[in-house]
Symmetry: C2
Subunit: 409 residues, 2 copies
């Protein structure tokens, strides 16, 4: 008998019919002798509906009250799901964040889980009940409702799996696993049977929308095996697990891209201590996240500084940087939002030399100009002109042989 935590996203519970299907699937697992804890998101569309209501009240709704509003979405899902299970002749019980006792800090809208009391869940499981937990929500030390931010239900599921020492945490979504790249761009994209936490983290932060980063971080920290799979298909998806020796044989596991960045170059910046701070401080103060930063080696104490921000922040960032540029004596500020970032990810890179060189060669062979480069231990990212994104993804996917199953050595 295994203890399984399953999470179903908004699309998977997007209608009463779909909720009934999820109930049937969960009952099947239950009938195989497993203890089932099911984490549900709000029905697709509901979260948007609630946000819209709040914004009809005022432009900047109070964060505490926004969380009180938003948590109703998941509450509706778990109630309907539990009704469905019961109407099929099995026992079920819905639990909200405050009933499980999922304790968080009080950062409304993006609270972090501090700890989870598993007493009530274990009690319900011991009564042979299927337990449905509302995702995305918790309570702060004063009993106020909180939400965990984007992808919060993934985090709820992983945190519950960790707290319950579950055998596995299955994330059901509308895609059937993690692919070597976006199948919409590259028809040869192949579903990965498994991937390491670190690779998944890089893939998630680079634009693959399968799992939320915080959930993966949590899974890595507590070593929770994740299974990403489709709620509309029966076949297995992708296991996200701790890195094994075996994984290092594969040099590149995936190619990702992100079209949501824009590039800002500050030309002829006097290379003095404190100049970078002067440029970036106003951005940080405005809550603008800077991703890549590149500074050329300075010539005659003058240098060019280039960095990227997300596209929605681009206009505001240009404005802030232009203000500073004059002050520090830079010659000009150039902005470009027709860029994208293409990356290759793989734990195998740690032990294989020349991967970056090969990536640059592949792009060059298609006359794709590289505008910026940044690297980590297990990924290499190149900023290129946006129009070459799809081409770059396809040629990299081919060049690193991602369409083929890795050969046994």
């Amino acid at each position: 008998m295994a203890l399984i935590v399953q999470k179903y996203g908004g699309t998977s519970v997007g209608s009463i019919e779909k909720i009934k299907n999820v109930a049937k699937r969960v009952i099947r697992f239950f009938n195989e002798g497993n203890q089932m804890v099911v984490v549900l998101s709000a029905m697709a569309g509901q979260t948007d509906r609630l946000i819209q209501l709040a914004h009809q009240v005022c432009d900047d709704p109070d964060r505490r009250e926004l969380d009180v509003l938003m948590t109703t979405g998941e509450q509706v899902s778990v109630a309907l799901f539990s009704m469905a299970v019961k109407s099929m002749g099995y026992d079920a019980c819905s639990l909200l964040g405050f009933q499980v006792k999922i304790f968080t800090d009080d950062f409304y809208g993006k609270a972090r889980i501090h700890n989870i009391d598993t007493t009530r869940i274990r009690e319900e499981l011991s009564q042979n009940r299927i337990v449905a937990v509302a995702g995305f929500q918790g309570i702060d030390p004063h009993g106020n409702l909180t939400t965990l931010g984007r992808g919060g239900s993934d985090t709820t599921a992983v945190a519950l799996a960790a707290a319950l020492k579950a055998d596995i945490c299955e994330i059901y979504t509308d895609v059937d696993g993690v692919y070597t790249t976006d199948p919409n761009i590259c028809p040869k994209a192949r579903r990965l049977p498994q991937i390491s936490y670190d690779e998944m983290l890089e893939m998630a932060s680079l634009g693959a929308k399968v799992l939320e980063i915080r959930a993966v971080e949590f899974a890595k920290k507590y070593n929770v095996p994740l299974h990403v799979r489709s709620s509309f298909k029966e076949e297995e998806g992708t296991m996200v697990v701790a890195e094994t020796k075996d994984m290092e044989r594969v040099v590149v596991s995936g190619v990702t891209y992100n079209k949501n960045e824009a590039r800002i170059t500050v030309r002829k910046v006097p290379d003095r201590p404190g100049t970078a701070a002067k440029i970036f401080d106003p951005l940080f103060d405005a809550g603008i996240v800077v991703d890549m930063i590149v500074q050329n080696a300075s010539t005659q104490d003058i240098t060019d500084l280039t960095f990227t921000v997300s596209k929605p922040d681009f206009k505001k960032a240009m404005e802030l940087v232009r203000n500073v540029a004059e002050e520090i004596g830079a010659s000009e500020v150039i902005g470009d939002d027709n860029i994208s970032k293409v990356s290759i990810v793989g734990v195998g890179m740690r032990n294989h030399a020349g991967i970056a060189h090969r990536m640059f060669d592949v792009l060059a062979s298609e006359n794709i100009n590289i505008l910026m480069i940044s690297t980590s231990e297990i990924k290499i990212s190149c900023v290129i002109e946006e129009k070459y994104t799809e081409l770059a993804v396809r040629v990299l996917h081919d060049a690193f042989g991602l369409d083929e199953e890795p050969k046994e050595e």
Copy 2:
């Protein structure tokens, strides 16, 4: 400085615009130096939407889970209201049933309040906050969500007012008070400036849809002064208060009617002990509530037995009674669902003789036949043919001078 509990019904918070208006009204009271606790219902239409969702899952949704679902309606209201208040520059805080700590029994769907912990509310009030409490909901001893049944938000408001020893409990609704009779039937109907708890209870159970009976019972028990008024007008409504000497001067306070009953007559019932039980037991077992019961004086040990049930129960009741009639040797069972019950209510009846007689005279003068009569200390009800309902209400209203302000003696 007064402590005021206000309750706003579903129509009063039926749109974002209306919620903002309620916020403005509450702020005005707050600015006059009052501590404000506001109980809100679900936005009009939401409760029906949720019930519909549940019935799409199955015909008879689990009661515990139905309560989990239903409570989201009021949760949305208090969140949006608190956002509105805050956006207007005042501090507010929403509290759900489990946060206030409104403890109930575990009769899901129609739970009764056991006790209310006022600590959290007092804490928020002392911070100069307007407190918005979700109506209709509580938690049972195991922390499960419960709802209080129809009109539950009225009960929440009155119970909170009692627990907080509030100076007054104002019930805002879409009518502007309690009238001498239904203004839709009788244009001369006059709004009562005040009415006693007992009269209100008779009016409520006889068909006036202003306040839920349980809320009035609660108010009477804890002597909470109620003020029923409109959320769309400024003028005062009706005070529902403990009976005063002064009230007895008025003989009849109101005329009510109820078209939702049907009459069943069992002819020639052998007048033996246990016969009545044989007729009514199957009805009780089927959960059918019998309202009026009349038994004629028996002639030659044979009697006629007449009683009323609500219209939706009529068919089922006829079926059950017909089964028994044969068994007990009654001659026939006659049903009639073209009836209505017209009543006059007033605490002054206790000290005035001949009121019943006058009522019968008034109806007779219009050739309205009285089919059944029942009386209590402060009301007289007559069952008549349904088609005469409006006429009867108008002539009674006139005859007892209800269109005129009571004269000072």
